[in-house]
């Protein structure tokens, strides 16, 4: 079934999204990260804008989701890249080229809650 981008799609029960949790859901072959942070819902594309890793495998740092692959951080409410973590584990390592390091921002989706159901639309 193909869903229109403006259609609200039920993704989970409210009880499945406890505070400070996140999970991956699929809408028409698009993986979406949904979560609740300090009582506020968020939804974004599950692919890290840097190199495409699954953000659902990451963790929170404040309002940021931290990508498990390279540690980049994105604010889940604004979508903005907040931390472009360096790969350098030692001072003697040489920093990566900026072309490799660059990243866009998160793609955000609209999310709402009605009754005991959470809805996302891919607009």
């Amino acid at each position: 079934m193909t869903y229109s981008k403006t259609e609200r799609h039920p993704v989970c029960k409210s009880s499945e999204l406890g505070d400070n949790t996140m999970m991956k859901v699929s809408i028409d072959m698009v993986d979406v990260l949904v979560g609740r942070k300090n009582g506020k819902l968020f939804a974004c594309d599950n692919s890290c804008p840097h190199k495409g890793a699954s953000l659902s495998k990451g963790c929170f740092n404040g309002d940021n989701v931290v990508c498990h692959m390279h540690g980049y951080e994105y604010n889940v409410f604004t979508g903005k890249l907040e931390n472009m973590k360096s790969w350098k584990k030692e001072d003697t390592w040489v920093e990566q080229d900026m072309e490799w390091r660059k990243s866009g921002d998160l793609i955000l989706y609209s999310i709402s809650e009605e009754g005991d159901t959470v809805y996302v639309s891919l607009k």
Binding site: K51, G52, M69, H70, T92, W93, W100
Partner: protein
């Protein structure tokens, strides 16, 4: 059917029916093989700098990992094309989009431990990278999954070697019979023709 006209590709049709986002998969694969190709290049430099008595001890192990990572590129690229993807025309763009950081020679390369840590970082990123492809294809794209999990098995062995060399934690397995043996992706598994 006219010349140049591509018929329905059942190999792709079944993926779509299984819910695989083929475009996303092609992107992840291109990033993965980009990482393998750049790793082959940078491991050449790292191996060259495994000098002295200490360096001599790990030179062959670095070479084993280097050739096997090149074989990973060879094993997966045909599948990329089968899926309708392609390697970027420009090698610079190919390197820039690689899924893992370049394994640059560290400033204090005379310390073998320093080289080993860079090698370890590269293998660990590769495990995460191919893990993403495995997660996406498990139970849905059996061919890509088969290739990716074979690559991942060898990356896990590489990681174990370097951890053993750094921390003495046993890797659990012995040396390769020859450089580029690739027990999971190599000729025994018929994934590469080299």
């Amino acid at each position: 059917m006219t010349k140049g006209e591509v018929p329905n590709i059942v190999g792709l049709e079944v993926l779509k029916k299984n819910g695989v986002n083929v475009e996303k998969l092609k992107e992840l694969i291109t990033k993965g093989v980009g990482a393998e190709f750049t790793t082959y290049y940078y491991y050449t430099i790292l191996r060259m700098h495994c000098t002295g008595l200490e360096g001599e001890g790990i030179k062959e192990i670095v070479e084993d990992a280097r050739i096997e990572d090149r074989n990973h590129f060879e094993a997966m690229v045909p599948r990329l094309y089968e899926l309708g993807g392609n390697l970027p025309r420009d090698i610079r763009k190919f390197a820039d989009q690689a899924g893992c950081p370049d394994a640059y020679l560290p400033d204090n390369w005379e310390s073998i431990d320093s080289i080993l840590k860079v090698l370890l970082e590269a293998e660990q990123c590769a495990i995460r990278s191919w893990g993403e492809v495995c997660d996406m294809t498990a139970g849905k794209d059996h061919r890509t999954y088969d290739i990716a999990q074979r690559i991942m098995q060898e990356e896990i062995e590489h990681e174990a070697w370097f951890i053993e060399l750094i921390s003495k934690r046993p890797s659990g397995h012995f040396r390769r019979k020859f450089a580029g043996q690739s027990p999971h992706t190599g000729s025994q598994g018929s994934l590469i023709h080299l």
